[in-house]
Symmetry: C2
DNA sequence: CGGGCGTTTGAATCAAATCAATTGGAGTGG
DNA sequence: CCACTCCAATTGATTTGATTCAAACGCCCG
């Protein structure tokens, strides 16, 4: 599943170890939206307070950085939505991840001191550039900042895992449904979303062709799970996020309707 | 450093229309084997020297940790091969990544102070457990250690990206070829490899069914790219790693055989 | 108004999944 | 040692979900 939430590790409180119940192995993740919002706010506030940063406004299509660029800074998304495009030596390219407010950009460049991907703005947005050396120094002096950064990397790894899981285990329709659910979960609003990307791009991200995306969306609309805005097919409403999740379940196991509740 | 070949045009074009003009944006990853080996050795030595650790030997099937476990340590692979299994709330599970000597295990647990995956040994192996709090403390006091750890996380993110790219853009045969190439690249030997996993597991990792894996392997063997050991179908030889890469290229663009050399 | 692009939808095709049968080792126990 | 089971793997036949090919439609913008 693509939902992922964060623990409130902002303060210096040592990790309170609560033993997880062995019954359900995954922690329940609904009802944590305010918590997530809190974490985003905390992140932005802490970084703003403790680090020298330069703000940079980008428009749709502008690159935050490109593959091959030297990695000198990390970037914190203050507003807007960004995509990371991974490109292979042979020309294949793919939208591997999406980034929303509070996310960090640039982790791909740490390993080789050189960025391995393009990161591009999908609409107008602002990022805060933080010098990498300064950031490391600050982390050394402030463990809570280090925890914040490590947490962000870990979380991104989690999204990456979920993405792979989705692509490998879900049929096309469910993949699109899951994608919408993810977007609703991570974007600012969870009922009304507008996708600043073409069907081709969505398909690229989900491992399918644009026609398949289109058909999947049509089917979801026909089933009443989503509905398009009166004008334009990029804005859509999600009637009920839980229903989308149920749709995914049904796609996996057609007789799992009842199991979904609890 | 690396010259940019493409202009910073806004949107990504659809995938397979262009015949791969941009070969030099990614750093060449071959020819770096000694470097990689060096990094592994450095990592192990540095950690051993600077950190208190406890060694733990595991046998095939043993879990280093399981989803839901409290995250108290990270683990450094000293020997053996490990797999990370991501499990969704609905029961789907997937092998999302593989880990070899010098890799860290446990990053998935940082975000929530609780592991999100199972990590399981695929053969006998040894991991070094390092207390997380102590590790963070040590990082604060030694920036090179922090760099090492961040680099490891960044690299893992990179493998994750590559995995998604592979699953989304390659047909089944090429995916298997790419998988073997990856294994040869990361395992100890690059000519002779033995896969401690079933066809079903490989298929799970690559997003295909076991029969498809079997067929793909048979085809690769028929084409002379690999050959099975005299006894058992888990051990195989790779005649020529470059030929595998060429096979992948051919699968993407059937007329790109000549382009592959450089 | 018309051209260009993104989207939708249908029909034909194809790659991979499914269904099914067989082989081959590994391990067990007589 | 052989007969036996059990499970992994291979291979073939068939089905199916997604892609490809193709044609239309709608919207934005000069």
């Amino acid at each position: 599943m693509l939902t992922r939430t964060t623990s409130p590790t902002s303060t210096t409180s040592t990790s309170h170890s609560k033993p997880a119940p062995q019954g359900q192995r995954m922690p329940a993740r609904h009802l944590q939206r305010p918590l997530v919002a809190q974490t985003i706010a905390d992140t932005l506030r802490m970084v703003e307070r403790k680090l020298p940063l330069s703000r940079r406004v980008l428009h749709a299509g502008d690159a935050v950085y490109r593959a091959g660029d030297a990695m000198r800074s990390l970037y914190l998304v203050n507003s807007g939505i960004f995509k990371t495009i991974s490109l292979a030596a042979d020309g294949r390219e793919q939208v591997v991840s999406l980034h929303f407010k509070g996310d960090w950009l640039g982790f791909d460049g740490i390993a080789d001191a050189q960025h391995a991907c393009d990161v591009v703005a999908m609409d107008v947005g602002e990022v805060w550039c933080v010098g990498y050396a300064a950031l490391m120094q600050a982390c050394a002096e402030d463990l809570s900042l280090m925890a914040l950064l490590n947490g962000a990397m870990s979380r991104q790894l989690g999204f990456s895992r979920d993405s792979l899981l989705s692509v490998c285990t879900l049929p096309a329709d469910a993949r699109v449904a899951e994608f919408l659910r993810y977007w609703a979960d991570r974007g600012l609003r969870n009922d009304q979303i507008s996708l600043p990307m073409t069907r081709a791009e969505i398909g690229n991200h989900l491992g399918m062709k644009l026609e398949t995306v289109s058909r999947a969306l049509s089917r979801l609309a026909r089933e009443g799970l989503i509905s398009f805005a009166t004008l334009g097919r990029r804005d859509l409403q999600i009637q009920d996020v839980a229903a989308l999740a149920a749709f995914v379940q049904r796609a996996i196991n057609p007789l799992a309707a009842a199991v979904a509740l609890h």
